[in-house]
Symmetry: C2
Subunit: 236 residues, 2 copies
């Protein structure tokens, strides 16, 4: 363990929890950053706090940002329905309605600001190839372009104090590989939350894109997903 700091974007989902565990395993003192961004539910933010504690983050900060002010996404705009069933997920030529305009650009910009203040040059983000079910800001080309921008944007980089690196440790992993990686590093996946549309008790719907990707991942990894699903309780 070094005292080298990294800023880790932590949504409270499975991917970012695994990313935090990887950053810790690489010896970084992790400064976890979570956004409240007009989500319809706050389960994710609560999960993020539990995960940060459980994985020994050095700091955890929650920043409120008003993406809902612009609308345009099923995740922030009450006028757009969260898709259920296969249509959105299986048409890889389409960008899903759960896409939030410029979300990762905004998240990485804040991470960059905090990193600069902390004197850190390492930012971790849990984008991955499975997440790229049409999200343009989860691709390697985007991350590389942002990294270049970061190194031109900041006093720290321009003064030659270091070079920012955007780490994407799970970008090439399947959901199953992510789950196996995290399990090996001690991630407690019962603390994570993935569902776009949980019920009032915080139980996952099992039907939205995010639940379906997650369940498929656990099945492929040969493990049982420890979070509660509405349908589990209904089938009892």
């Amino acid at each position: 363990m070094t005292d080298k700091k990294a800023v880790v974007l932590l949504s409270g989902g499975l991917d970012s929890a695994t990313t935090l565990a990887v950053a810790r395993s690489e010896g970084f003192a992790c400064c976890a950053l979570t956004f409240r961004y007009g989500q319809r539910h706050t389960c994710e933010v609560e999960s993020a706090g539990r995960i940060a504690e459980s994985l020994g983050a050095a700091q955890h900060r929650v920043i409120a940002i008003d993406l809902a002010a612009f609308g345009g996404s099923a995740l922030t705009d009450k006028a757009i329905d969260v898709p259920k069933g296969k249509a959105d997920l299986d048409d890889s030529s389409r960008i899903p309605s759960t896409y939030v305009p410029a979300r990762n650009t905004i998240f990485l910009s804040y991470a960059l600001a905090w990193a600069e203040v902390l004197g850190s040059f390492d930012i971790f983000i849990g984008v991955n190839s499975t997440d790229y079910s049409g999200y343009p800001d989860c691709r390697k080309e985007f991350i590389a372009a942002f990294e270049k921008t970061a190194n031109l944007a900041t006093a720290a980089a321009v003064e030659g104090k270091g070079r920012f690196r955007i780490h994407t440790p799970i970008i090439n992993l399947t959901k199953a590989q992510i789950i196996l990686t995290g399990t090996e590093l001690g991630v407690d996946y019962s603390l994570t939350h993935s569902c776009y549309d949980p019920d009032e008790q915080g139980r996952s719907c099992g039907r939205c894109d995010s639940c379906r990707l997650r369940l498929k991942g656990f099945a492929a990894a040969g493990l049982k997903d420890p979070v509660r699903y509405t349908k589990d309780d209904e089938s009892k």
Copy 2:
């Protein structure tokens, strides 16, 4: 006048007011975007509203963002003094303490999000060569890198609906040229606010970097700055 929309970053200062006037003169329906970001004073935000109205913006939105949460700048952190006198301004090798980490990256990211929702591909930002008294995120290289990132980050660009362009109409102008351009386009500079450290009545200090650049610009343009300065009233 077309109905082609542009998002225009509007701080309430002289540069962004001029930029809005240029965007309007190019026929854009201007959607002005202002941030409250933990400034010590709100004069700028009030000025932005008056300027947006005066220059016929189609929309004006003010978004609160919490840059003060990270600290690290004299403009957002109460523990750091706003510099007065010549030291900061004249040493071009130093980045001033009024630099806000990753500010323009964050501002442009929000502008990008709003542009995508509006179906706009044009973003205007009033960075200029005079402003580059050490601010890395006011340089052409930074703007070019952000533009590239924008075109990889967004569904609108990836789906081929258009190509985002970051317009920097005043980037090559001196302060005097900016003032002359705006004057020709009907900008009422009495509505703008530049001072980093105004008094309780909103009068400018005349001594901070921003006041000094502004006063020098008006003098070089052969015009009188219409805003009120503390020292004007003191000298009466």
